[in-house]
């Protein structure tokens, strides 16, 4: 969908044409899910965030500036919805076992280098556990910086933080993750 089509679709959606909004939902859902998953670290939460983000976007369509990129605007909404959701489910995260947290590339029996894979899985578990201990803003800021490659300025704009607050969120997150992973470095 090019910029002209997006503009036309947005104009129709603003006038209450829900079907027009559908095209935007279909185009941006997967990317929204990916970001929501990285920030929340939970598949079901990411699903909830995606839905809530689109509903919020639809409600706020009148605030969207036509010259901006819809994907960028939605990205911001998804990040903030994720932060809101982590805040609201903090208690659940605090009590979550690390077994429930996402772990990538679980070692399989047929893997040619099982020891290395096991070490990698161990790091991922530690990272997941450490990530769940971060505050919602630290988690979102670190995700946007480390996984999404966003600059400090962009993260600040996305999360509505000043430059200094954004940097400190990233610093605190890195410090906590280092503390969690330091014992593993000693083992390897």
């Amino acid at each position: 969908m090019d910029a002209t089509e997006v503009t036309a679709v947005l104009a129709r959606a603003r006038q209450g044409d829900g079907e027009a909004f559908r095209a935007l939902v279909e185009q941006h859902s997967r990317r929204a899910f990916q970001l929501a998953y990285r920030i929340t670290g939970n598949e079901q939460d990411a699903e909830d965030v995606v839905q809530e983000s689109f509903i919020r976007a639809y409600r706020q369509l009148n605030r969207f500036e036509a010259r901006a990129h819809f994907g960028t605007w939605l990205h911001r909404i998804v990040a903030n919805c994720s932060v809101d959701l982590i805040r609201s489910r903090r208690a659940r995260f605090d009590h979550a076992s690390t077994d429930d947290l996402p772990v990538n590339n679980q070692p399989e029996a047929s893997d040619p280098n099982p020891e290395r894979m096991a070490a990698s899985a161990q790091i991922e578990r530690k990272v997941a556990a450490a990530m769940s201990a971060l505050s919602p803003l630290e988690r979102a800021a670190f995700t946007l910086r480390h996984y999404e490659g966003r600059s400090i300025a962009e993260i600040g704009k996305t999360l509505g933080l000043g430059t200094s607050a954004t940097k400190h969120s990233v610093f605190r997150a890195v410090r906590k993750l280092r503390a969690a992973l330091e014992p593993l470095r000693g083992e390897s």
């Binding site: 829900g18 279909e26 859902s29 480390h146 890195v174």
Partner: protein
Amino acid sequence: MKHYTEEDLILYYYEERPRGSSAVGEIVQHLDTCAQCAAVYRGLAATLKAIETPEAPERGDQYGLEVWQRIRHQLPEPEMPWWSAWFRADRLAFAGAVAVLVLAAFVAGRWWSAGSVPAPQVAAVATPATPQTAPAEDSRERILLTSVADHLDRSARVLTDIMNARAGVDISAEQRWAEDLVAASRLYRQDAADAGEHSVAVVLDELERSLVEIVHTPSRANAARLDEIRRRIDAASLLFKVRVLGDELRQREQPGAARPRALTTQTS
């Protein structure tokens, strides 16, 4: 010698300019000459490199459609200009009803005062106009009715197969069929909505959601998953609605057949 803080090194790692540093070159030069800072940076970089981007669970090509199906009925009413409130359907209906009552009172008043009934005039007011449908439009509508009725028959067969499927049995054939029906269902729903057939559009919408769910179920679904799908189909009385609507559309295919006005209430 001025040493860099951990925070400066974090910014440097992420290619952000460290605070108070005029150029990234300065820190590069410093790390070349200061073993202490170089060791801190190596530790930091090794830790951050070990944190790999988590792979989000895969979402298929139909994911956007699934999200849409989930949120479409939750979308809030768009904000409209204040004057448009006067033209809302319910208010227009109310105004119409008031106008009819006033007219009826006027006619009744004349009848009572004159002591006789102006039969032809009353008849003219009370008898609704017979709809005059152009033959071409009639024929187009019948084609649409036939297509939708066929579509509903096929869908009912898929739903029946799923309702009767045993756990662990391969349902990939039904899923392929359902996938074809999803695309068709979407088009028919749009056509029905455009033609003002809202009750038909509502049933097709519910059908589309169930078909999408069937498509995205593992082809060898376990008992719990199949039960979940069946419960949703049952809860919406979907199979029943699909069959009833199919029958009604078949009846309407006959030339001169009257259009049922309360399809939604009959089928829901």
